[in-house]
Amino acid sequence: MTLDYLLKRIFQFILIAFLAATINFFFPRMSGQDPIQQKLMLLQSQGVNVSSEEVAGLIETYNAKFGLDQPLWRQYINYLGNMARFDFGVSISNYPTTVATMLKRAIPWTVGLLLTATLISFAIGTIVGALMAWGKAPFWVRTIFPAFFTFSAVPFYLMGIILLYIFAFQWPIFPLFGGYSTQRIPEVSWGFAMDVLRHTILPAFSIVLAQIGFWALGMRSMMVTVQGEDYILQAEAKGLKDSRIFYRYAMRNAILPQITGLALSLGTTISGAILVEIVFSYPGVGSVLLQAVRGFDWFVIQGVVFLVILSVAFTMLVIDLIYPLLDPRIHYRTE
């Protein structure tokens, strides 16, 4: 890999971020609606007594931030600068909390839950899928697991509801909702960690159950293809041990497309869990987004969208940079 390529690839990433910010800027302006006005109307229609002090502060911050009295190009430059600093403005519903603060609070929950669940389902699914296609694998692996994968036909939010009903409602082994118990204050302690873990098990399990089948089926079909390759026959002709052929010849090659899939799914981590987070009232980005959509909280929505695009673009960048290490046939040159 050349430095040229690296620079080119990083430039691409910045370009994507720039485009995302640009769309974020012009989209609401094209709609011709004023989010602040809308918000106020919504509150009034709900009969909420909007204290004039709060409204005045909100409008003032809003105008100062976006300089609505300035020409459009100036607003635009301003906006890009803010985006580059991850300054997404102030939440309308939770004034004066900034969007950045809300996201900073929510991201660890989402990433923690989704990353763990995705990695677990990837690891189990890939190994099981590989074994399912391996003629010499134990009989029970090849018969029991496929039955297990019928769960994958169930969407994971539905799986979540079923798990909640059984293990939190019928037999209250696990909590019904939340990322931690309401009476606890987030802190770094053993007790709090265990509490978080207890809250994570059901949502994580519903994701893992739903995803294992996806990884396993992908891996199985790749393994079937790879086992027909001449290098597997040659490996057997070399008198290699089955385990070596399995890991270093068959799995090692079959896993390459899986890793691309993993990168893509990690990239959508932020947006991927929205439904699960809603079902389990989990305090992640998904729940933040849901609240924002309900409350016409424009700036929060924009922040989340920008973050999602950025995280997808970033994982693509990372996978592009590490892929040549996994597959020596891929090497990047500048043409």
Binding site: D230, E236, K238, L240, K241, R244, P328
Partner: protein, 363 residues
């Protein structure tokens, strides 16, 4: 089917040792490889595809045997049966494959695994994809050594691999390369280096030169010949190019529809093939630029191996076919220091060489 009893097969395999074809053999030596009445079927939904039907064969130490025949006649199946690398739906229905007196078909999986590379090695048909694309060449050879109990340091392994590569005409830096960095010819050389890594007694090479260009084909064959001489291994070469084969082999076995129909020393079969099929096959010897058109020179199609005709399988295409050819199956019998399965040369009832046979062969 199953016309030769094991006893008969044994006698016949033994009598093959009387062949004068072989430069290296001593008349009382036991054959290195002895295949007795081997039957291999592919069990498909439509029925059993009889890819190998009753092959008997003996190969002596240091001998080079070429197997020829039209595509689909069972050469690869036979080669893979020797390696015991056939996959379902293939099934070895009956027979024995004795390598240095040991029946490979009776070994357990682990014994067979150890026999591969150590006793019998395979050079595969497709040089292009026979190497693991994500591993360096040296690591792919080291794998084979390690799984046969060799525990050495990386440096020692590397020295060994360097000399293996030099023996097949490759530079030492190839060791650190990945397969996609090599040409087809280089890959096939790596294949040969790997096959000789543990000095096996037998090397099975299944069309090692297919998909290579003509010049490279000759180089690869020359290298294989040199390796054979240096290691003293016996070689079974599956091939279709009679030009290359004549340059390489001591003996030629001609296969047709899963059967060995003629087994002769190379000089003699080139001079005058006995079996009518061998005769037609040899008329299609390619010109030096590698062009050939075998399908034109042998009219008709090989039989479907799923429902084979009675009598001689070649009868429908045979220019010399006689009335009893479609009823009585000819078996491989000795004839004038060679072996042939054809009624032209043998009395149908006794299996003895027929007195009129020579008269009936066209000049």
């Amino acid at each position: 089917m199953g016309q030769s009893t094991p006893e008969k097969a044994r006698l016949m395999a033994h009598s093959l040792s009387q062949s004068k074809s072989n430069r290296f053999q001593s008349s009382n030596a036991e054959p290195l490889l002895e295949i007795r009445d081997l039957h291999v079927h592919y069990e498909t939904a439509d029925g059993a595809v009889k890819a190998v039907s009753g092959v008997n064969l003996a190969l002596y130490e240091g001998e080079r045997l070429a197997l020829v025949g039209e595509s689909g006649c069972g050469k690869t199946t036979l080669a893979l049966a020797i390696m015991r690398l056939l996959k379902p739906p293939a099934r070895i229905v009956q027979g024995e494959i004795l390598l240095a007196g040991r029946d490979l078909l009776k070994l357990n999986e682990e014994e067979m695994r150890l026999a591969r590379l150590q006793d019998v090695a395979l050079v595969t048909q497709s040089a292009m994809n026979a190497l693991n694309p994500v591993m360096r060449i040296e690591d792919q050879i080291i794998d084979g050594l390690e799984d046969h109990g060799y525990e050495e340091t990386k440096t020692t392994f590397r020295k060994r691999i360097q000399s293996l590569l030099e023996h097949v005409g490759l530079k030492a830096n190839v060791a650190r390369m990945f397969p996609h960095e090599l040409s087809g010819g280089m890959k096939q050389r790596v294949g040969m280096a790997t096959a000789t890594a543990l000095n096996p007694k037998l090397i099975v090479a299944d069309e090692p030169t297919s998909a290579l260009d003509v010049v490279v084909q000759r180089q690869v064959m020359t290298t294989l010949g040199r390796l054979q001489k240096e290691t003293g291994a016996s070689v079974i070469l599956v091939g279709h190019d009679m030009g290359l084969i004549a340059q390489f082999a001591d003996k030629v076995g001609v296969m047709y529809a899963g059967k060995l129909v003629e087994l002769s020393p190379i000089e003699r079969i080139v001079e005058k093939p006995l079996h009518p099929y061998a005769d037609l096959l040899l008329q299609s010897v390619p010109t030096l630029d590698g062009k050939r058109d075998r399908l034109v020179s042998i009219p008709g199609m090989p039989p479907r191996l799923i429902d084979l005709p009675t009598g001689c399988y070649f009868a429908p295409r045979c220019p010399s076919a006689m009335s009893h050819c479609t009823n009585v199956t000819p078996t491989l019998q000795p004839h004038d220091g060679r072996y042939v399965a054809c009624h032209l040369y043998h009395d149908i009832n006794t299996g003895e060489p027929s007195t009129t046979a020579t008269a009936e062969v066209k000049a």
